[in-house]
Amino acid sequence: MTGRSSSPVAHVELRGFGWRHAGRRAWALRGVDLRVERGERVLLLGPSGAGKSTLLAALAGLLAADSGEQEGTLTVGGADPRERRHRTGALFQDPQTQLIMARSGDDVAFGLENLGVPREAIWPRVAEVLRLVGFPYGPDRRTDALSGGEQQRLALAGVLAPDPDLLLLDEPTANLDPAGGVLVREAVRAALEAAGATLVLVEHRVAESLPLVDRVVVLEPGGGVMADGPPEAVFAAHGGSLAEAGVWVPGVPIATRRSTVPAGDALLTAEAVGFRHPGAARPALAGVDVSVRAGRALAVTGPNGSGKSTLALILGGLLGPTTGAVHATAALGASLVGRPPHRWRATDLTTRIGSVFQDPEHQFVTSRVRDELALGPQRTGRSPAEVSATVSRLLDSLRLDRLAEANPYTLSGGEQRRLSVATALATAPRVLVLDEPTFGQDRRTWLELVDMLARLRDEGRAVVAVTHDPDVVEALADDRLDLAAAP
């Protein structure tokens, strides 16, 4: 620990702190002892379910006393964090729900208005923080016309405007492409240099965040603090066990899984496919040629807005291209060769091309994990014996057996991701199209997913993964399609 400040009162102090959300049996967080001095910059790590986000919400004063049960004590600046929300700034993951107002300048002004800052002091401060985060537009720029990275920088400006002494960032770059992530981290660095605030950062991808922090704290699910200290020391002492537990430890190599079988037949070919939303000035996707082959993993990369997700929907037979065409080959379905996949019946589609959406919750149709897995086979006319065999096999191979009776909406992010992949596999499609499959996953789930996709490919399926995770491309891709940014 650096101990740069010797003031008697720590900036943040937790003693035996625990929190259980109302209506839950398990504690989200328990037995946490932690002291953070003023000006320290802490990276908070831990596998999925360790309670990182809950701890951040508690520090931000956002856990209402009646929304759960507390154990131990938590103080910020010697006070209840709920009493000093105005001195704390918190930034969360999804830019779309971070921005409140329609105009950029108004959004930054919002926090200042809430503090009752006089009007003549508001606008100079707005201009100052917009400059600090490197916001490239004026205050009248509409917030819905910004890219994800720009939106997140704007949201950061809004958080910084009241000059907080404690800055809490919950995976602020998780939803961004690599370029957007760099911009946001640069803005955070500039803000820390300017303000000298205390930082508590939660971020899955550790390597990129290390330059921002001087201390690493690792939470253990249900068990308080597992490791604490300067990054090098923590990773030297616990790197192996942390990686084992699902933490992304920098420098721990990931094995590559190149195809072990020769490339098979082309299953789907796209010729000059493009898509333009009705009334839009520019196409969302412009003229792409690609061939999807059995036994190969194709990674589709490119910045936000390059049409990656649109291409995934088109290859998945869910969206008809407005230009060009997608053809299925006889190897995929002899009876369907002349028809573009988006005109197939749903039952023909799901047994040939499976799609896994970025947001797993968009795909859940039933209220039990077991029913969710049975749905596809039932719809496509499998016998009850076959359905139940498929369901047990998938529950088992994707470690979902313990959750068979649970409601899909109540699962954790990693469990939801495994379930959404499993539902696509239930109808045994030859082509699997996935949109950001590893998004926001801890190291353990990530490895499981990549292993599973490699296995599916080696069984002779075609895997198409839209991703901006360079590690997925590195570990899995046999072919790569890089889409350019929209013109």
């Binding site: 105009r103 200042l112 508001i122 696509a424």
Partner: protein, 265 residues
């Protein structure tokens, strides 16, 4: 918030008026028009409304392009009156089972006039007012609670995302082998299940937005300040006074012509 974007020229003399004054003026005219069922009051009001539209920075053609469904709806309603209306007054045309009387003509015409005279003030206000300015003004001038006005404003920003959710839900179901095809019962079931899923998403997103607002100190008990002042000037008071005058003239005209037909008597 694209769909609610003002289409008017913001520099027009009445477009620049205080948003609360504009809402108040529209309300005054609306209330005056619902007290009577005759065609004269709405005719007078509509004539004046059409005349002042350019002062709100609105062009007739742009307005018609956006609100043509209203034209169609009003035409349809008038037609219903001409076919099924009460056969009062003198008979003008009689063709087999269908009879057209003066009473039917009057009630059809007054319905169309009323629809437009009631709708135009609201359209003029919302087409010439930025939603942010409206919320700011309602809080500052009409003393509406900030929690309500700004909360509704922030929620409005999330509305367009619902359309995207719906598309995603539909496509995700198709990918799972679920589509309704031609079966109306299956369609209804799918609609219900997608509506439920969309509500789950909307509530989750709303909760996240509320958390972000809380985290930025919204409604924390401190007195709020305002980055943009919404002054209420003499011209704004004059706009409201003009609306009161128009209402009086319209109702007086219907009384004077002897067709005044109050809703409550």
């Amino acid at each position: 918030m694209r769909f609610a974007e003002p289409i008017a020229d913001p520099a027009a003399p009445l477009a620049r008026r205080n948003p609360t004054a504009k809402v108040a003026a529209a309300l005054v005219v609306t209330v005056a028009l619902v007290v009577s069922l005759d065609p004269v009051a709405p005719a007078v009001a509509l004539a004046v409304e059409l005349a002042v539209l350019p002062l709100f920075g609105l062009r007739y053609r742009a307005l018609a392009a956006r609100f043509w469904p209203l034209l169609v709806a009003a035409g349809g309603a008038a037609l219903t009156y001409l076919v099924f209306g009460q056969r009062t007054g003198e008979v003008l045309v009689s063709a087999g089972p269908w009879v057209l009387t003066t009473g039917m003509l009057v009630s059809g015409a007054s319905l169309v006039l009323r629809v437009f005279a009631l709708a135009l003030p609201g359209i003029a206000v919302f087409a010439s007012t930025d939603p942010t300015d409206l919320a700011d003004s309602l809080v500052q001038n009409a003393k509406m609670p900030a929690r309500f006005a700004l909360g509704a404003l922030a929620a409005l920003r999330l509305l367009p995302l619902l359309g995207n959710d719906w598309e995603m839900l539909r496509m995700a179901r198709r990918a799972r082998g679920v589509d309704a095809g031609g079966n109306p019962l299956a369609r209804l079931r799918m609609f219900a299940s997608m509506t439920f899923a969309m509500l789950v998403h909307a509530i989750r997103r709303g909760t996240q937005l509320a958390t972000a607002m809380d985290a930025r100190g919204f409604d924390s008990g401190l007195p709020r300040s305002y980055a943009r002042e919404q002054p209420f000037r003499a011209a704004d008071a004059a706009l409201v006074a003009g609306a009161v005058a128009l209402s009086i003239v319209a109702v007086a005209a219907s009384v004077a012509t002897g067709v005044f037909n109050p809703v409550f008597r």
